[in-house]
Symmetry: C2
Subunit: 197 residues, 2 copies
C-alpha cells in the first residue's frame, strides 16, 4: 500500500464489492466501468495513470472501443493529450485503408479487427496504450501492432484491472515498455477475488 | 453569443476547422469526437451540459456506445452522476433480458438494438440522455424508449451537434422534455457548414 494511492485502494474495494465473477476467468464490472461508469472513480483512475506515465511524455493515448474509452479519456484529461479509440467496425466516415490488427474477443466471441485512421497516429507520436483489462493481452498486442504500423513510439501500456493468471504481462515482455495495472487479480478462489500481494 | 459560453464558440470553431462534410448530410468530426477525442474540449462540453441541465437534477446519464461515451462521461464528471452506456451487442456479462429498443444506424447502415441492464436504470432515476449528434433523432428516441421501459423519468436530452435540417428536434417534441444542442448546423452550403442564427 505504501506506493499506492487512496484511489487505487478504492478501486480494489469497488471490484470486491461490485465485481461479479461469472466463471471461466470472466469478471463482470458492469457497475462502474463496462456498462455503467462511475465518473469520480474514472477521475481517480485517470489521475493514477497520469502519475505513473507522465514521465514517458506521451503525445497520444490509444485505446479500443468500447470499454477502454472511459479510462483512456480520464487519463487523457489528466495528461492533456488526445485520445484515439480504435474502431471495431468501419464507419462510413473512415475512408482509405486504416492501420489495422485483429484479436479474438474475450467477452463477445469471434475475432475483431481494430482500425485506426492514418491521420491520428504518426511517427512523431509517443503512444500510451490504455485499456480496461489486461488478461491474455491479445487486444493490447493488436493495439501495439497498430502503433508499430504507424511508426509511433510505444511509451507504455496501462490497464485498470489485470487478471494475472491469464499471463498477459509475460506476453507483453518483448515490447520492452512500461506496463502498469491499477488492480492486479492473482486468482479467483471459488467466486472470491484474490488480489496480488 | 450573449447566452453562450467561450467553450461553445470554441466547439463551433473546431467544427468549422476540422469537420469534414462527406455529403448526404454526414459530417465527419473524427478529429475531436468520433475517433480521436480532445479531452479539453470534452471537458468544456461537459461543463456546458452541466450548466444547462443541473436544474433538472439528473441521477443518471444515458448514452449509446460508442461515440456518445466521451461527451456523456464529461457531463457525468461535471454533474457527478453515473453514466450508463447502452450496448449495441450483447456481451457475455449481460445476463437476463435487458431493456432494449432498436434504431437504424446512420453511419454504419443496418439496424442496431440498444440494450441496458435492468440494474442500472430504475423508476427512482431521473435520466438525462446525452449523445454526440442530434440528426433524425432515431437513436435518441430508442434511448428514450429504454428510459420509458425502466420507469425512470426523462429529464432532458443533450446533443453536442445538431443537424437541424434532419428534423430531429421536431421528432422529440412529444417527449415534452428539455432538448439542448451545443452547436446547431442549419445546413450545408456545398461543403461549407452553416450554423443556425
Amino acid at each position: 500500500m505504501s506506493n499506492d494511492s487512496t484511489y487505487m485502494h478504492w478501486l480494489r474495494e469497488r471490484i470486491l464489492n461490485e465485481g461479479v465473477y461469472l466463471g471461466n476467468g470472466i469478471l463482470k464490472v458492469d457497475a462502474f466501468m463496462n456498462h455503467q461508469v462511475d465518473p469520480l472513480l474514472m477521475q481517480g483512475i485517470g489521475y493514477e495513470f497520469a502519475r505513473r506515465f507522465r514521465g514517458q511524455h506521451p503525445t497520444k493515448i490509444l485505446t479500443a472501443e468500447t470499454s477502454g474509452i472511459a479510462p483512456a479519456l480520464a487519463a487523457g484529461m489528466m495528461l492533456q493529450v488526445p485520445v484515439v479509440f480504435a474502431r471495431k467496425t468501419k464507419p462510413l466516415t473512415l475512408k482509405d485503408e486504416p492501420y489495422q490488427a485483429s484479436a479474438p474477443s474475450h467477452t463477445k466471441g469471434g475475432v475483431v479487427t481494430l482500425m485506426v485512421a492514418h491521420e491520428f497516429l504518426s511517427p512523431n507520436d509517443r503512444a500510451l496504450i490504455i485499456d480496461d483489462f489486461l488478461a491474455s493481452a491479445l487486444t493490447i498486442r493488436a493495439l501495439a501492432e497498430i502503433v508499430r504500423q504507424s511508426g509511433a513510439t510505444l511509451v507504455g501500456i496501462g490497464a485498470v484491472i489485470e487478471k494475472a493468471f491469464e499471463g498477459g504481462r509475460g506476453a507483453l515482455r518483448d515490447l520492452n515498455t512500461q506496463v502498469e495495472s491499477l488492480a492486479v487479480i492473482e486468482r479467483f478462489d471459488g467466486d472470491k477475488i484474490v488480489f496480488a500481494e
